[in-house]
């Protein structure tokens, strides 16, 4: 998961690692991978009111070769699964996966006895780092998911946590 497949350097510089991971966290480039309804909330997060660009993640690249994080937003159908795996494989290391929405976590509202068409969750075939529940999750939830991912990458939380009143 995450940076596991990166070849570790022969000499480890601790502060250099910290700076590199801070740099990576500050500019996570997501891939535009909206499959269904959650894609619209992802677009809304990148748009004017919620503005994901504040957190460095504004550049949604269509090409997987240029991204760090793949936000699986929407239901994965069995017909689409090979394409998703191909896109994941095409991303360069280090890479992360966020499963956004109930469908990407566990199939969502489309799981029923005798279902023939969807894959019940992105973690059936991808290593998922962050799960964002909701159907669809609010843009604030997606931002919180990105911040959690940044915490996972750097090891400390860089933004204040929102307390429930």
């Amino acid at each position: 998961m995450g940076t596991q497949d990166v070849q570790p350097p022969i000499i480890h510089f601790d502060s250099l690692d910290k700076i590199l991971s801070l740099g990576r966290a500050n500019s996570l480039w997501p891939m535009t991978f909206g499959l269904a309804c959650c894609a619209i909330e992802m677009m809304a997060t990148g748009a004017s009111r919620f503005d994901l660009a504040r957190f460095g993640a504004e550049v949604f690249r269509p090409s997987p070769r240029q991204c760090d994080v793949m936000i699986v937003a929407g239901t994965i159908s069995k017909k689409m699964e090979p394409a998703v795996k191909t896109l994941y494989d095409q991303m360069p290391e280090p890479k992360w996966v966020i499963a956004m929405g109930n469908c990407a976590i566990s199939g969502g509202p489309f799981v029923f006895e005798g279902q023939y068409g969807i894959v019940e969750g992105a973690d059936k075939f991808l290593p998922v780092d962050i799960y964002i529940p909701g159907c669809p999750p609010r843009p604030e939830a997606l931002i919180e998911g990105i911040l959690e991912l940044e915490e996972k990458v750097t090891g400390f939380r860089r933004w204040p946590r929102v307390e429930a009143k």
């Binding site: 677009m43 896109l87 159907c135």
Partner: protein, 373 residues
């Protein structure tokens, strides 16, 4: 030299795959293109990448348990889909809807239509290369989403209608908020008009691109703004009135040219007409119940098959349900408008340049989960 080149040209076609992952405006659509340079020789859409088995779930779930599915078919105008399904079941089971509930339905459906057209507008211009109108359109859209969230509880995939009415009433904050929003949007529409619609680049990219004739629209069953942009005056709200639409005074924009510019103008005009409907509905809103007096405990339509159509943002959405008297459908067929609209892409895109074909596809206003159901 011409003959030599012609022969060579025939061997120069290559197959290009468009999608299923491309910038996330439309969804997961794959188009197999046979290209001759930049010209399309043949285009064949491939569907099924987001097939979520709605019709099978219609048979497995009870009538009421299917309601959340309606919002997820076409998530941009989810309330129209709610309306179509609920109205079909009400027709089948003979449930009466109180008048205030009908007015609330119309108000929320028309607000949803405006938000769907605004998102289409932003995404369409994004396809053509302009990023900024998307941000402006989303700003307006967020205001509608705030209003609808205060009533229905959700931002995108609404499940607000129930059999025989709606489940939540509106308050004064909603009414004043909606009136303020309409005033604000009316002031902003001239800005969209001046900056985008009259923009010479947009005009050059859309005028005379992707012509769809009346006969083509008829043979493929295209409805909605695609048909109205080709000169066919067909709108289910006027043609086959349902709910309380006969009480409102609104126009149906119809443009004759049949190109992408005409379809664009139809949708921009429809935003204004929807605002008119919402204003009139707020003025005439009656007091009363929002749920039927006799609570509908268990919906059990009579045996037989029924049909009901509503005007969704993309065309005529029809529900054909076959009931066998039990508490779930025997067969639920959802006639999605974009399915018929997209089927003419194969014939309409022949001989076009690839960017023009994308402009045509954007002007058809596709939402792929609605096609795949």
């Amino acid at each position: 030299m011409n003959g030599f080149l012609q022969q060579d040209l025939n061997q120069e076609t290559f197959t290009l795959n468009l999608g299923p992952q491309h910038p996330a405006t439309h969804g997961v659509l794959r188009v197999k293109l046979v290209m001759d340079g930049e010209y399309i020789v043949e285009a064949e859409p491939v569907l099924g990448y987001i097939h979520r088995m709605h019709e099978k779930m219609g048979e497995n779930r009870t009538w009421a348990k299917f309601l959340p599915n309606c919002g997820r078919m076409d998530y941009l105008s989810a309330l129209s889909y709610n309306h179509g399904y609920v109205a079909a079941v009400e027709r089948a089971a003979g449930i009466e809807v109180p008048e205030r509930a009908e007015y609330l339905r119309v108000i929320t459906v028309e607000l949803n239509r405006i938000s769907s057209h605004l998102l289409w507008f932003g995404a369409f211009v994004l396809d053509l290369g302009g990023f900024t109108p998307l941000l402006y359109a989303f700003d307006d859209r967020e205001q509608i989403l705030d209003l609808l969230e205060s009533v229905t509880g959700s931002r995108l995939t609404y499940c607000y209608f129930r059999f025989g009415g709606v489940y939540n009433d509106i308050d004064d904050a909603f009414i004043t908020g909606t009136r303020a929003f309409i005033k604000r949007l009316r002031k902003r529409m001239p800005m969209y008009d001046a900056l985008v619609t009259k923009n010479i680049i947009l005009i050059k990219r859309l005028k005379d691109i992707g012509p769809i004739s009346k006969d083509m629209a008829r043979r493929y069953g295209a409805t909605g703004p695609v048909a109205r942009g080709s000169g066919i005056n067909f709108d289910v709200r006027r043609h086959e009135p349902y709910s309380v639409y006969p009480e409102f005074d609104f126009d149906i924009p119809v443009y004759e040219e049949g190109d992408s510019m005409a379809r664009y103008m139809v949708r921009m005009d429809e935003i204004e007409q929807s605002m008119r409907i919402v204003e009139q509905a707020l003025d005439k809103l009656p007091e009363g119940e929002i749920k039927p007096k006799k609570a509908v405990k268990m919906v059990k339509p009579e045996k037989g098959d029924y049909y009901h159509a509503v005007e969704a943002a993309r065309g005529s959405f029809g529900v054909r349900l076959v009931s066998d008297g039990t508490n779930s459908a025997y067969r639920l067929k959802l006639r999605s408008p974009t399915y018929s609209n997209l089927s003419l892409f194969g014939e309409a895109a022949r001989g076009m340049l690839l960017p023009d074909a994308l402009a045509l596809m954007g002007s058809l206003d596709l939402v792929i989960p609605e096609i795949d159901r």
